[in-house]
Symmetry: C2
Subunit: 316 residues, 2 copies
């Protein structure tokens, strides 16, 4: 099959990559999104080698569960061992022996086919298009925030970063909070958020300092972390929604002095994400910038790295 494999240095387009694990459910990938994590992997994150990609929608071609065959599905990306305490307590996403689709010890979605255990798959209702369904995984990551903290409708909320994930986080936060300000850098991305009724700012002025009950850091940059610590009120909450690639000069002193609660946040629940797309609570309109065939991966990745671009999608 056709696949994009990262060998630790370069992405290689392979026409005859071996077929995936026959013991799992086989999914023909329809669309697969390029995510910030994919771009981090190219920089060495997780020391991953294998087929890239973890955001996808596809059609089941083979499964022990015959009812699944022909169904459109999305898939949870963490596969637990089923034997450890985490798995037994419903925390497969934190299984110490887990594999992660396209991220850790498991070939991913930038290929004609992928496999996952049946229990990782969720059928997509007909009313949700492929172009919407490809966002289920990152929308689920945004919904994780609601699982981790109890959002208060009266909170003054800040989002630091205006990128792909931020656009979805805003939609999720909006389901509870109405007073949201996004601090970003890109006019086109901030304009999309303005249409959703979000206040937007480029840069922090003194009036905003220590002004927010909740701050969501979604840039994955040191400067985004510093901005978050400036924006959050004493005793407030900062959600760390992205890993911070640079470790230089990261200073936790303000977190101690101002008694901030920092909440690391990663993958989330798929069911509320699918429900939100189906009901129309979450809109992904205008989020796809462009679609490339697998063969044109070089152009696709070059495009996805541009700072003013939202989602770039591959069609294997």
């Amino acid at each position: 099959m056709k696949a994009l494999r990262f060998d630790g240095k370069n992405i290689n387009y392979l026409e005859n990559y071996p077929n995936p694990d026959p013991n799992e459910t086989l999914v023909r990938v329809s669309l697969a999104g390029i995510c910030g994590t994919d771009l981090e992997i190219l920089q060495g994150y997780m020391s991953y080698e294998g087929v890239l990609g973890h955001e996808f929608v596809g059609v089941v071609e083979e499964s022990k569960n015959k009812k699944l065959i022909g169904k459109r599905v999305v898939g949870e990306i963490n596969v637990g061992c089923e034997n450890c305490d985490s798995c037994k307590n419903g925390m497969e996403r934190h299984c110490p022996n887990r594999t992660v689709l396209g991220i850790f010890k498991r070939d991913g979605a930038f290929a004609e086919y992928l496999t996952l255990p049946e229990k990782n798959l969720h059928i997509i209702p007909d009313s949700i298009t492929d172009e919407q369904a490809v966002f289920v995984e990152p929308i689920a990551a945004a919904f994780e925030i609601k699982d981790q903290i109890s959002l208060n409708p009266d909170w003054n909320v800040a989002l630091v970063g205006d990128g792909r994930l931020s656009q979805l986080i805003v939609s999720v936060l909006k389901t509870t909070c109405s007073n949201i300000t996004c601090f970003g850098r890109h006019d086109n991305k901030l304009e999309r958020l303005q249409k959703l009724g979000i206040k937007t700012k480029i840069g922090i002025d003194p009036a905003q300092q220590y002004n927010f009950d909740l701050v969501v850091e979604a840039t994955g940059s040191n400067s985004g972390f510093l901005d978050s610590m400036k924006l959050v009120k004493p005793k407030g909450i900062v959600i760390l929604k992205s890993t911070i690639a640079s470790k230089e000069n990261l200073d936790l002193t303000p977190a101690v002095v101002n008694e901030i609660t920092l909440v690391g946040s990663r993958c989330g629940p798929f069911r509320p994400a699918i429900n939100a797309l189906e009901s129309g609570i979450i809109s992904v309109d205008e989020l796809i910038d462009s679609v490339y065939p697998l063969e044109k991966f070089q152009e696709a990745f070059t495009h996805a790295k541009k700072s003013n671009v939202l989602k770039v999608v591959l069609r294997p």
Copy 2:
């Protein structure tokens, strides 16, 4: 009066330092403890210049409230402006305009006299000795943990660090949790904890990794932070009880991947600290290593910096 003043580079012993603010309550200092924060200030923390010291017990000599005169007191160290939102909401400790005794814009306790507003002072019952009362401020800092999170008696708890503050934190945690392990480096300090019924370890072995529901980081070192991130379970809590002086290579990636909640924790409530000393729930026995007169500050600070020493106290 006699006072130890830090000029940004050196501590100076001054015999004729001006008397403190006559508009506040005047306290003659009986004992004052040297804290890790004092040692950090000598390294430049808070860019503080002034009389050092914030842990004290003393006797009121002058006050607008005549009932206070002659009473033994301890004092909350943060003085708010009384006008801002933080102060109006009972969060004087987070007032953006606050001064802090011996730490920020307010002369401290390493002197014959200090002043504080009357509302900052708490009368010490006769059953508590001066040698116990001088620990109220750091015990209060330990009690802050109980104000910030709801301790679960079933939790497996780790404390990273065996120093002055750790010894008090253990006593506070013990009021709710029975399963506590301290990871330290000093035999004499760990032995004191063993007497309190705490398990102690030097170094982390693989069996302890990802094994603790709650970890309290009380070393203020990068290695202590790294150890904490190794010990805490996925979705667990790490309390940051000390500012981390070195900012190098501090990596928050494990906090995101393992969805850890990091809770910055600073000053705490005095009343439960005094009650705990009075009831005997918290023991400070054997915590004072030595007492020095103010004049012998050089020896006192040299002694306090030694790694195997617990609390060093000044008697002005």
